[in-house]
Symmetry: C2
Subunit: 412 residues, 2 copies
């Protein structure tokens, strides 16, 4: 949580954080600024001090609205600096940073953040380091960084915002189920009342529409993958393909608060009309492993134990997994879970390897998503909820939704 | 254009491009991959050779769909590398890069790109440079980089995609005009048939909905700023504020192709019901300057001349500008234009200073947006179209839309 940042900075021997880039689609910046419309801003936070937001002059109202201490970048007159360095943009930017660091007495280890176009700032910071020997820029590994550790545990307001996104998400999932089951089956695919074939692209357009109506963005798209595509975890589904009945459909939806903010992540697997015995068994295996591992979740335990437990449970049921068949593309091929917040994927990590020391702390919001994939048999199943570990020790889905495999469809 | 990349690499003495990050919201990657759903991918392009896309194993179908040569990152076994370096993620990533650079014989100057979280890769690349002395990473200034120069001129397919976004954009602008004028004026604000006050947030939700219905995303939000807010160019407007009549409304809309891709950028200024004489005059001044400068646009001329011309035309009409009042927050306070494509802001740059050597080349798609701002008088006006400079020499808006200031409103 935000209140942990100074402690985490002390522990990592970091003197200042420098976050660069825009206010949206830039999680570490958004964590401080909220959804402010800011372009090319900087946030400077020295250990033990409140952060300062450096903003473009035109964006002073947006900057002011964040409630942060602000500083207008016009004060550093980039055009004058550009003339001093004969139009070298990178040199001018380095000079501006020098002025800022001098004014705010920034020294020592500065950890740099920001989702930004990499190249230009790479040069600027290297130039700065040469000119300012009392300063060292640190690039922390994202997953172990001060900011990620702070963001890993969510305060009640953050949890409620994610839960609100969960309500929107499951409402849209219900919309999609209703939309699909309002169709009829004909020659193995869904058709509408006029007999026209429903395409995956049609379904995805509806999803975007319904999300927008309910006030959510969908920056990363949606997975709606049928048959063989369902057997490849990150296949998103072919827009021009018809919606087939009797095959597994992996429907994985991960929208974001409108304008940038918190995500939700949710998956159900459906068969329209009917399911084969193989698909039913696959779904049952995933559901059993979901329930088995879910019941063991407990605060302050190592995250990796749950991935190992999941692999073992799947292997007992005859499926290869990444535990003992590291490069398998069949069976259980990914991680059980990942933290979720201002990014779809954030800490903690659940990979099984010994180097993973992440613990399941109170305040963690994380996905829980066992799955089985058999691309050559044209099927895959994943069931995913977003869980919250409360400080009281309860670990529960933020929203509930049925896990049925088969959605009934009438014949045309 | 893409075909220029090898020539531009030769001119910049660059041996390879390394683009990192996801397939969406990452313009330089998207330029090669299209809208493929790729996370943590790399694209390597050596001068004179075709690019290679390195992808996560789970995303092999998405990677294959790009038509690029692909390579599965599983081949480099990151978990084994992690064990070798005792769980140090950055060291493991550096080792993986070493394997890739060895296999593909990458040497010399490697220009690095990608909209990525900065810190982690900053460390990885510095570590790599230490270990591989035959290699030097270059961070080009974004605006002068090989990729930006290639992207600066658009081929006909790109132009048609941007024009298509323009049609969607102006259709939604017409929807908004229709929606507003279907309201009535009461006590200085718009109300619906039930007498309920219309809020700016309501308008913005409709905009998102209509954009989604027409197949566009709106990742950066919309500016719908009234009165004093209209006088501050990047104020986005307060969601909880009512829609007031008789005041200037700057409506600046900049949506993107659904799922990531090309942007459009468009602004109109409206007064609902009526306009004050001051607002009418301000609007006329902007329109006159728009027309005056627009008529002079010509291929292969310096971009900065148009910004200077715009400033001089506004100054003749009595308005301060950034040309002779560099830090002014009144009058004409920004640049006339910017290139537009996979980013809202890309090359060429139109700033007036002598160091700006950008030329208006055939194939350029750029905004054209004179404006005047008087926050203390509670008003601002901007008129913006997206223009295209064709290879035949015509420079015209990609789509047309009326520039009227006043939208008629009936009293309640």
């Amino acid at each position: 949580m935000k209140q942990d940042i100074d402690r985490l900075m002390h522990e990592a021997h970091i003197d200042a954080l420098l976050i660069m880039g825009s206010g949206s689609h830039n999680p570490n910046m958004t964590y401080f600024t909220g959804k402010a419309h800011l372009t090319n801003a900087y946030l400077l936070k020295k250990v033990g001090e409140t952060p300062v937001l450096f903003h473009q002059s035109m964006e002073r109202d947006e900057a002011g609205g964040t409630g942060l201490e602000t500083k207008d970048l016009t004060d550093y007159n980039i055009l004058e600096l550009l003339q001093q360095v004969k139009g070298d943009i990178q040199a001018a930017e380095a000079e501006r940073f020098k002025k800022i660091f001098e004014e705010f007495a920034v020294k020592g280890k500065v950890s740099v953040y920001g989702k930004v176009e990499f190249g230009g700032l790479f040069s600027v910071l290297r130039k700065l380091e040469k000119d300012l020997p009392e300063l060292e820029f640190i690039g922390e590994a994202a997953i172990d960084s001060v900011m990620m550790k702070a963001r890993l545990t969510k305060d009640p307001q953050e949890v409620e915002r994610i839960r609100e996104m969960g309500k929107i998400t499951t409402a849209v999932v219900a919309d999609v189920a209703g939309f699909l089951t309002a169709h009829r089956a004909k020659d193995g695919v869904l058709v509408n009342q006029q007999g026209e074939t429903l395409l995956i692209g049609d379904v995805k357009r509806r999803i975007n529409l319904w999300l927008a109506m309910r006030g959510a963005d969908n920056p990363e798209g949606t997975i709606f993958a049928i048959g063989r595509d369902a057997g490849v975890p990150h296949s998103t589904g072919e827009a021009e393909a018809p919606v087939e009945i009797g095959k597994t459909i992996i429907f994985d939806i991960f929208p974001m608060e409108a304008g940038g903010g918190y995500f939700f992540d949710f998956t159900r697997t459906w068969c329209l009309g009917y399911a084969s015995d193989e698909a039913l068994q696959l779904h049952q295996d995933v559901l059993d492993v979901y329930n088995t591992v879910y019941q063991t979740l407990k605060l302050n335990t190592p995250c990796r134990t749950y991935q190992i437990m999941t692999c073992e449970a799947f292997e007992e049921r005859g499926h290869p997994t990444v535990l003992n068949t590291p490069r398998t593309q069949e069976g259980y091929v990914h991680s059980l879970a990942h933290g979720l917040g201002l990014q779809i994927h954030e800490g903690p990590n659940f990979r099984h390897t010994e180097d993973n020391t992440a613990m399941l702390e109170a305040g963690t919001v994380f996905t829980f998503e066992p799955g089985l994939y058999y691309p050559d048999q044209g099927m895959g199943v994943r069931i995913e909820d977003t869980l919250w570990a409360s400080s009281e020790g309860a670990i529960e889905p933020l929203v509930e939704y049925p896990k049925d495999l088969v959605l009934p469809i009438q014949d045309a």
